[in-house]
């Protein structure tokens, strides 16, 4: 796979000087992640196209990059914006209001008026991810739920729990506040958990 990526300080001047080896290193390191993020926002069908478009935008914008974030975060933000623009062109919206206004997914009837469980969680009979994923049916159910998440929720979940980015970078990439970023992540996780829960009921 890719060797250790040089620091931004070393990479950026080389990229600006059109050093092909530097581009190869950066593409190897970040392209996969870019496709995952694009897929979360625009769906699988055009994710590759969006990632390519983002590379061209990166080349254009690099001379104006002010280094207020890491190169990685900056590139991912370009992917996020390219993807959002694409959605807008297809008149699908990706507004934060839509995503946050969306019902929190823990069903209020699960609790009684004093806030205690009225219908407690079922036992899952699974202790590890492998136990859960042994069922093809459950795997498919998680996948369907992931794809049905609101765009920004899916993007936050993909970057945090699936690709391991820290929350601060994620909020910069998606251009949301820290607290909104946490709400997006929380809701997305709850939806997946609720889908697994339903499977075991």
């Amino acid at each position: 796979m890719n060797q250790q990526l040089p620091s931004d300080d070393e990479l950026i001047p080389r990229l600006l000087a059109h050093d092909e080896a530097a581009y190869t290193q950066v593409v190897s390191a970040y392209h996969g992640l870019m496709v995952h993020l694009a897929r979360a926002i625009v769906g699988a069908a055009i994710a590759d196209e969006v990632a390519q478009e983002a590379w061209l935008a990166v080349i254009k914008a690099l001379p104006r990059f002010e280094r207020r974030s890491s190169l990685k975060t900056w590139i991912l933000r370009i992917v996020s914006n390219t993807a959002k623009t694409r959605l807008r062109h297809e008149s699908r919206t990706v507004s934060l209001e839509d995503t946050l206004g969306d019902q929190a997914n823990i069903d209020p009837s699960q609790f009684n008026t004093s806030g205690r469980w009225a219908s407690p969680p079922t036992v899952w009979h699974a202790d590890t991810p492998d136990d859960l994923l042994a069922s093809q049916e459950l795997r498919a159910c998680i996948d369907t739920t992931l794809r049905a998440l609101p765009h920004l929720q899916r993007a936050a979940l993909t970057l945090r729990d699936m690709q391991g980015l820290d929350m601060e970078s994620i909020c910069k990439v998606l251009e949301v506040s820290e607290s909104n970023g946490r709400v997006l992540l929380h809701r997305a996780r709850n939806r997946i958990q609720a889908a697994i829960e339903e499977f075991y009921q």
Binding site: L16, H36, Q52, L56, A104, I106, L157, M162, Q193
Partner: protein, 92 residues
Amino acid sequence: MKMIPSCREITEQASDYLDQNLPPWKRAAFRMHLLMCIYCRRHVKHLGLTISTLGKIAAEENARENSDIQQIVELIKQELEETPGQKGEDCR
């Protein structure tokens, strides 16, 4: 203000709890509730398992996928030929 959160509040804070993002006093109250409530212990355990399962799915996907890096680099090369670089000497 009451000291110990309700089950409902536990479900609202669980994500931040697992991310170590609750302030110390809230974290302590959260743990106090867990000590007394088997259902919330179960809920939090399930959320943790949900998160690690997502990580596992991603690891499998990442291993399976290999986008054509060379194809992207070719595309970039073409674009660079049409874009002025910052080498200095070839600017004038």
